[in-house]
């Protein structure tokens, strides 16, 4: 098995994410499958930032704690991470800033001599790493030319100087036979899935880890044929999305837990007015501000229960960008098919991480919702067998379209009559039966590893990356529900057949998925939980699993 892990660290402002991304692309261009974690605190200058790039000949979705190459742009990186270097690993450092044993190169001096800015130590580090890994200079040159848009020639000069000074290669990274795959972030995959399913208006207030979903859509608005809008707060975001949906436009909002708290009032409005809106909630540790730039999976019950009143919602939890792309498209189409709010639950690990991407762009298509035929008086909330009323939008000749937050009659006029109240609540809640049937027809639970193994890990979201790899190595089963509401109990039951021991693995402190399953009569025998803001590492999970199975 060909596999390499590189950790590159420095402080905020050192361009760590950029060099991390360049290294990831370097491996990716050689046919490797990539997982990329960017670890940074909530600040703009100073602090301790690092990126972990893991490259493998098989598809991966997690990092390992131990690394093959450690790159230190300051002393803190050595202090914090030297113990994670494999015995035969290599420490590369800027000898102008760091005292250590290993391959020291005067990166700061190199940059200065070339007439570069201090941040360009990052491309110098890239040159040194590439040489260390035994990569040919043309590969590095092509990468810098493709990925570094500003001052490309100067950056190339610096990278080449470091490459030439790095001495003989220490490792031999061989190109793989497999075709290189695109390297994509979770938020980008969410954005593209939504766009392919007809998103036209994205509205969001910045909040990590969903801010770069807003940035990506704003930067690519013309190419993607959408409008991205950043209003005064999350309340305005969700209400504007509801107004847009009422008038016939596919809208989506994105935020994290704290911003979603502000949107909850609007969620109830979406439910009462039967406005289809997609909510993307990128989780991070709470309560409250918590750890803004780290990862967590602790908002499951918040999302499942948010909003006053009882209503139907659709909730998906992708675990990698392929799933994020497909499931966001599904969420958008489902929201419009049933005229209900839909959720895409992500987390910082998926949203801001980068992964090799296999899905094809045309795997998501926009599906037409039920449209009004134009006969008779239009009734926005017409009662039908499945509870779904035909849609017309303001501007449609012959239709008066009345949406309402109050309980209302079929026409949309407020009512407080007992009988009508029951009729309309039954109409809305009646959709659930059809949604459940549809969820059972979809691939809504995935099974990995040995599908007959008696010991199974049950997990959700991005934690599946570490689980799948460990389970494949140890001959265990992994069960990952992709849809969390309505929970596909039929498919889940089939996935659990023959399981004697069920272990929930989650990035939270209380076992949210295990608690949800318990509500459905499925009890996990053990829980392996991690709630320090960092995702599971493969080697760490293997160790903790060993303790549980001992």
């Amino acid at each position: 098995m060909a596999e390499y892990s590189v950790l590159v660290g420095g402080q905020a402002g050192d361009g760590i994410r950029q060099v991390g991304s360049l290294i990831a692309h370097l491996f990716s261009s050689l046919g490797y499958r990539i997982y990329f974690w960017d670890d940074y605190p909530s600040l703009i200058r100073g602090g301790h930032n690092f990126s972990i790039i893991r490259a493998s000949d098989r598809k991966i979705g997690a990092y390992t704690e131990t690394v093959d190459v450690l790159v230190a742009l300051n002393q803190t990186v050595v202090e914090k991470h030297a113990s994670k270097l494999k015995p035969d690993g290599l420490l590369v450092f800027d000898s102008d800033a760091v005292k250590a044993n290993g391959l020291g190169l005067p990166l700061a001096s190199l940059v200065k001599q070339a007439g570069g800015k201090p941040i360009m130590r990052n491309v110098a580090a890239l040159g040194a790493i590439a040489r260390t890994l035994g990569l040919e200079w043309p590969t590095v040159r092509a990468l810098v030319q493709a990925e570094v848009a500003k001052q490309t020639d100067l950056n190339l000069k610096i990278a080449e100087a470091a490459y030439n000074q790095a001495g003989a290669p220490r490792l031999r990274v061989e190109p793989l036979a497999s075709q290189p795959l695109p390297l994509i972030g979770g938020n980008e995959a969410i954005a593209l899935g939504a766009v392919r399913a007809g998103l036209k208006l994205y509205i969001a207030y910045p909040m990590t880890p969903s801010s770069n979903l807003l940035h990506f859509l704003a930067q690519n608005d013309q190419e993607l044929g959408i409008v991205a809008y950043h209003p005064e707060n999350e309340i305005a975001a969700v209400i504007t999305a509801i107004g847009g949906a009422y008038a016939g436009t596919r809208t989506m909002v994105g935020t994290s837990g704290g911003g979603f708290a502000l949107m909850v009032e609007g969620l109830s409005l979406a439910a009462a007015s039967e406005s289809p809106v997609v909510f993307v909630v990128g989780q991070r540790p709470g309560p409250s501000t918590g750890l803004p730039t780290y990862t967590c999976q602790s908002d499951l019950f918040f999302i499942l229960n948010a909003g006053h009143g009882e209503f139907v919602r659709f909730v998906v939890a992708p675990g990698d960008p392929d799933e994020a792309f497909l499931l966001t498209g599904l969420a958008m189409n489902t929201a419009w098919k049933y005229q209900i709010p839909a959720f895409v639950i992500s987390d910082k690990n998926l949203s801001e991480g980068s992964f090799s991407f296999e899905a094809r762009g045309d795997e998501v298509t926009r599906q037409e919702p039920l449209a009004w035929g134009g006969k008779g008086n239009y009734r926005r909330y017409e009662r039908t067998v499945d509870g779904v009323s035909p849609l017309a939008f303001p501007g449609r000749q012959g239709a008066i379209v009345k949406a309402n937050s109050y309980e209302h009659d079929e026409y949309g006029i407020t009512t407080e009559e007992a009988e009508k109240t029951v009729e309309m609540q039954d109409k809305r809640l009646g959709k659930r039966r059809y949604l459940v049937e549809e969820v059972e027809r979809l691939k809504s639970v995935k099974v990995y590893g040995d599908a007959t193994a008696a010991t199974a890990l049950v997990t959700w979201g991005s934690t599946k990356g570490a689980c799948v790899e460990v389970a494949e190595d140890l001959g265990l089963r992994v069960i990952q529900p992709l849809v969390l509401d309505p929970l596909p109990s039929g498919q889940l039951g089939a996935a659990l057949a023959g399981v004697k021991r069920l272990i929930s693995v989650e990035n939270n402190a209380t076992g949210c998925l295990a608690r949800l399953l318990a509500c459905h009569g499925v009890v996990a025998n053990d829980k392996i939980l991690k709630y320090d803001g960092r995702p599971f590492a493969v080697d760490d999970l293997r160790k903790r699993l060993g303790e549980v199975l001992r």
């Binding site: 993607l224 809008y229 009345k402």
Partner: protein, 284 residues
């Protein structure tokens, strides 16, 4: 005037003597005037918040979104972003617009969203049976302030001028003809048009006598002069003051938010989705 019937079967539940009747009548006259002049009825959309004012949308047979408290500005912004060809008129109360949703009101004025915002300003919470609002006078004996309100009232005309609204007016629910004309002018204005409508609450804050004796029509006022508009707005600060001007304080043409952000798109009409395979390749 057209024979357009705008009523619905909904039972009207406003109190006898409620100022909302005058606003409803003026709003309906305004819709008829717009339709007579060529605006298709189906392209007019009303929205309301929550409170006595909000029942208006149930009484009018026009497209509407009966939204929630304080959130009328983002509701109508969303409608306008989806389809800029619609004529969108929002109704809100004073607790609604100046209390719960003040940030939205200010930001919508600042952006110059091309919508009309009519605030039914009775200076009391009616539907929750009589508490102070941001425009209640000092000393107002509301149920949440039994010893009298202790806060100075907000002057929404000054606030909207400062926020950048491009059409700022005050109406009086008794003067329905003038109010209807203001609503028509507001709806035709390209940009954020704001009308604060003085509306007596017959049950909890009966201001008929006060307004009837003090209200006067702005005349000879230069509506293009922002300083003059501020000066006229200060004539009455929703508390003391002998004379209460009504009419148009300020009007200016500026690029609208929807024009700028949409760049000619009508999102509601777009069914095509882009081929993203080229973009995915660029991630490699």
């Amino acid at each position: 005037m057209s024979e357009l019937q705008l009523g619905t079967y909904a039972e009207n539940t406003w109190c006898k003597g409620c100022g909302n009747f005058g606003i409803l009548s003026a709003a309906n006259e305004a819709v008829k005037t717009l339709v007579d002049a060529g605006t298709p009825l189906e392209t007019i959309v009303l929205a309301s918040g929550i409170g006595c004012h909000a029942k208006l949308v149930d009484y009018v047979n026009v497209n509407s979104f009966y939204s929630i408290h304080g959130r009328v500005p983002p509701t109508i912004t969303g409608i306008k972003l989806a389809n800029p060809g619609l004529t969108v008129i929002g109704h809100a109360g004073d607790g609604d617009a100046y209390g719960e949703g003040l940030a939205h009101l200010i930001m919508s004025a600042k952006r110059n969203v091309d919508v009309t915002m009519i605030v039914h300003d009775n200076r009391v919470y009616g539907l929750t049976t009589g508490q102070v609002t941001p425009t209640s006078p000092v000393g107002f004996p509301g149920k949440s302030t039994p010893r009298g309100g202790i806060e100075e009232p907000l002057n929404p005309i000054e606030l909207m001028l400062a926020a950048g609204a491009t059409f700022v007016a005050r109406g009086y629910s008794v003067k329905t003809k003038e109010l209807a004309a203001l609503i028509v002018a507001a709806a035709r204005h390209k940009g954020f048009a704001f009308i604060d409508v003085l509306q007596p609450c017959f049950t909890f804050f009966n201001t008929y006598q006060l307004y009837n004796s003090r209200v006067y029509e702005l005349e000879g006022h230069d509506t293009s002069n922002l300083d003059a508009a501020h000066a006229r707005a200060r004539e009455w600060n929703y508390g003391e003051g002998e004379r209460i001007p009504i009419g148009l304080f300020y009007k200016v043409e500026k690029p609208t938010f929807d024009q700028r952000i949409l760049r000619g798109k009508v999102l509601a009409n777009e069914r095509e989705v882009p081929d993203i395979s080229g973009m995915i390749k660029t991630f490699a």
